[in-house]
Symmetry: C2
DNA sequence: TTGCTCCTCACGTCACGTGAGGTGGC
DNA sequence: TTGCTCCTCACGTCACGTGAGGTGGC
């Protein structure tokens, strides 16, 4: 029997998340005499099932429904969610395309608007912390190499420079793997 | 000078979206004597800039800030958004992995739990309309071929069957291109 | 008169985060 | 006594959608 705070820490959740689940009836804890929530082994087990589905992006309502329906099959929920994820990724890709187009219109009226230092400055303004712009590019290159290339071209970098960048990313991957 | 409904149709938006933008002060229409909103050419132009940024997934607050700040540069907003999109895609991929794992645990205790017809049935339960399951797979294959393969393996399909499926998708791409 | 568009509240969505104001345990 | 955890409201988030209840225009 543990209290909310401990249970939250066990799963790396916030306490308010557990309060919320309790209010929904999704994971209902017993109460001590003083009103404190007490989580039993059963609660913890149920919570772990909730969290694994939540980590998959399944909405809490569906998780609840699934757990309350005895003979229910989890597969249909998961496949539905896979469909949702694919639609999300599609939307994200479309948004990337829109952005690349907007950047082409906005940025490169004059040839080679951005030099490397200005570029760093712009990234900094965009909330990319100092020293993390490499990570930014790395993530972008990993998620959508084609779009990243488009971006670099739109910003006025040459093919050779882009190849040079790619080497840097690949090297950092190799170092990461070692 | 056009009314809300017409303006909404011009951009394929809902009327309530325009009411919302008006209430935010993002795109404020003039009013006729009877209280009807009237959208001028200026309004329409501003609206089109709003929409193109919204289509990129930029939050309305940032759009508003950008439009109100005279010498502001759009690039930093767009790059920030690009970073956000990459994080979204990363999250989506992680969720895919979680789901594949859950499906492996849930579905394939017995070898070859799913035969094609049961599989279709499960897809149907998951909200995939009759006759659209091919599209579902197609989209999944396009977004994340590796994960899709994992899924099919987890469901008990053999390598040969998967190759067969891939051919079907590729054929449908070719037909699409013609 | 009928149908269509327009108006203004006000509440709901989803999964919590963030105070405010107060109590229990060691 | 101090500091930590706990409690219960209640409001905010984001971009609208959905009625409810009523009016204007042709």
């Amino acid at each position: 029997m543990i209290t909310v705070g401990k249970a939250a820490k066990m799963f790396g959740l916030s306490r308010t998340a557990l309060l919320y689940y309790d209010s929904l009836g999704l994971v209902k804890a017993k109460r001590a005499a003083n009103g404190y929530r007490l989580y039993s082994g059963e609660n913890i087990e149920r919570l772990s099932r909730v969290i694994s589905l939540r980590d998959a992006g399944v909405p809490l309502g569906e998780i609840s429904e699934y757990l309350e329906t005895p003979g229910s099959d989890i597969c249909s929920i998961l496949l539905k969610r896979l469909g949702g994820i694919n639609r999300q990724i599609e939307t994200a890709r479309k948004q990337q395309e829109v952005i690349i187009k907007l950047l082409k219109n906005a940025g490169v009226r004059e040839k080679r608007k951005f030099r490397t230092d200005e570029w760093m400055e712009t990234l900094r303004q965009a909330g990319v912390e100092e020293g993390k712009s490499l990570q930014w590019h790395f993530l972008f290159e990993k998620q959508s190499p084609g779009q990243h290339r488009e971006l670099l071209l739109a910003l006025g970098f040459s093919d050779e420079e882009i190849k040079h960048f790619k080497k840097i990313y690949e090297d950092s991957v190799c170092r990461h793997r070692k």
